[in-house]
Symmetry: C2
Subunit: 400 residues, 2 copies
């Protein structure tokens, strides 16, 4: 297929990350370098911007803005959660034709891949030449056919740093408030929570327990785990997925959630870590403290992984190269080279292979007890997250 | 008074910070340089370590440890919350005499200053020569007679960075979940919450509202504030002290707290931001998201302020210099030089002037409406926190 001349549109979708704008910058910079590409449009707030013809002119931005995206968190185009339906198809085709859009790049995760896949099929079945190459992005790291997803390494770095540092805080407080729970994003998958284990510098360091949705833990087992850890060193740091389960499909504490409604008629929301905190203080008499950094996990720029920032940019550029090079539909994937030393090359797989699929943490990445990641996981994650330098010190307890 | 030869003991107290170990390193390094100082003891877990004669030998630490404390968060000696009483006095005098301790340094905030003050009076009234020079530390920044407290600039830097970055996240999500509340430490004072305003790079940037305990806000006013901000730009980022009040002495939402007890007989805890989230979604129909970084505010090393790290070290050294130089009792203070350019010199004031006093955010540091810090506050805080470089970019919305 020859290079079709036409305009390009790019959108961002789902939750922002610290590197989603790096991918956007990559798309724009590569698009400017390609003679086949005319105008470069940004969808304002995702696919809804396309439907409403709300475009941002990305070719004519003030000096420094496109490059500055590479260190700016959030989603500069605005994002959206919108499930495309067949009712939107006619409108979309009209807009694509009206603006002679031939290249479409959607930066996002699972749901966004489905949107891209629908758009590619729509164009193909209508005989309209459109090249749809998606750009992967999700802190959940749950896209299939890619070694990892841009956005994950930086969020994982936040989780590792937070665990290491709140761990030192907890150790310092000692028996007065010996249990810390760090609640980590991940309703269905434990990729991000597992990254807490990268905080461990030497044996006995936090985290001491790591619970992920893929490995349900009974209330009894949880109590035993915490009690054992507390006996060993008088403090316990737990990394817990917001979606941690007590049995398959049943979130921890679901059965205990308070039934009371508040003044406005809403059910009070608790969450897994609140339940576990109440459980531990009630059953073990231990004072528990919680950290719930929530959206900071995906936005705190100072924790960005250098590998992630660079890869997100490359992945954005690659999507444009592939589309202009003739690829009809696909999503860019990262393929890790075997052997020591870290390197990922870029490939493309069909959107059909990725849309609506979810990659869970593999069995071999968690220990038998289901309460700590394995060395295999650490080998996987460490090059993505990078070193947490400099190493911290501990005083020698040799008594005076 | 000549230099008495004797041993030195140092302890850490209250909540850890990212720089409390820098102060400890300063104490140790200065003590090693002073010929009047013999042994250098660390109290294991604060004053309780002194009572129990649990000392750590700080003069004979492995290579690199004392210097490494300067970039290690937490409290390396372990910390404690313990209110000294007269019942402890005899025991303390015995321990001081037994170990020939002549220099005592306690690193901490309000309560710790009171402990130091008690120790100084005890020694004086017993005719035992003891030099007690305290080292200030608190992220609350509420000690009197000092421009600011070591620990505050770094926690303030975390709050500013978190506000800036979660602000970009909220802006990207737009009308789908337009309100973000960042809950900030500070039960009685708003110093830390006010630092959120340092996130603002240009007009209209987050935060949009800042609520501190010193300036109560009625539920009606809060609703009006949020509605106005939402109308202006479709999203609202709020920095809220955990101790925000609706009238003097009455925490926001206190009256609405759920009365229900959980399975274990404990009252469910909500907190100010949970109440406000429920309020806003109920009354304004806006989806609210919360960030509760809690202990990460005082422990995330990557957010440390360079000024803070350096000052904490200097303050530790100064305490030893003063004690060895003959000062009987006091606490080191930071005194800011007037004029442009930032510089603080170190002085000492009597513990009697500082113990059990609390410095509130002055009236001129908040605007008339009580919902945003003034330029005067920003001028005060900016040199402590440092620049949040590099500046972020925003796409020009000129439509395509």
């Amino acid at each position: 297929m020859g290079k079709v001349k036409g305009n390009l549109v790019v959108g961002q979708s789902g939750g922002p990350t610290v590197v989603i704008n790096s991918s956007l910058s990559g798309v724009i910079q590569e698009a400017m370098a390609q003679s086949a590409v005319g105008e470069i449009y940004g969808m304002y707030r995702g696919i809804r911007g396309l439907l409403k013809e709300e475009f941002i002119d990305l070719r004519r931005q003030p000096a420094g803005v496109v490059e500055g995206l590479r260190h700016t968190p959030g989603a500069a185009l605005g994002t959206v959660r919108y499930k495309l339906s067949e009712a939107d198809y006619d409108r979309i085709l009209d807009v694509l034709k009206k603006h002679n859009i031939r290249y479409l790049h959607y930066i996002g995760g699972n749901d966004s891949s489905d949107t891209s896949w629908q758009l590619a099929r729509l164009a193909a079945s209508s005989g309209y030449e459109l090249h749809v190459v998606a750009v992967p992005k999700t802190v959940d790291n749950d896209l299939v056919h890619t070694d990892h997803c841009p956005g994950y390494p930086s969020a994982a770095r936040f989780v590792a740093m937070a665990t290491r540092d709140t761990g030192r805080d907890t150790e310092a407080m000692g028996p007065e408030s010996p249990v810390k729970i760090l609640e980590v994003m991940g309703r269905n998958t434990g990729w991000l929570t597992a990254a807490a284990a990268l905080a461990r510098q030497e044996e006995g360091d936090p985290p001491h327990l790591v619970y992920v949705p893929e490995r349900p833990v009974s209330v009894e087992q949880l109590l035993q785990d915490v009690e054992r850890c507390y006996r060993e060193r008088e403090y316990v740091v737990i990394a817990m997925s917001e979606g941690a389960q007590e049995s398959a499909g049943k979130t921890l504490g679901e059965a205990f959630a308070p039934k009371e409604v508040d003044t406005f008629g809403h059910r009070m929301k608790g969450g897994v870590s609140d339940f576990v905190a109440t459980l531990l203080s009630g059953k073990l008499g231990l004072k528990v403290r919680l950290d719930k950094p929530n959206y900071l996990q995906r936005s705190l720029m100072v924790c960005a992984s250098a590998v992630d920032l660079e890869e997100a940019f490359r992945v954005g550029k690659e999507a444009v190269k592939q589309a202009v090079g003739g690829c009809a539909e696909g999503i860019v994937t990262l393929v890790r080279a075997p052997g020591p030393g870290y390197h990922c090359s870029l490939e493309v797989v069909s959107l059909a292979e990725v849309a609506n699929k979810e990659k869970m943490l593999p069995v071999e990445f968690m220990n038998e007890a289901g309460n700590y990641p394995t060395a295999a996981f650490l080998d996987y994650a460490r090059p993505l997250v990078g070193a947490l330098a400099p190493p911290y010190v501990r005083l020698s307890r040799a008594t005076a």
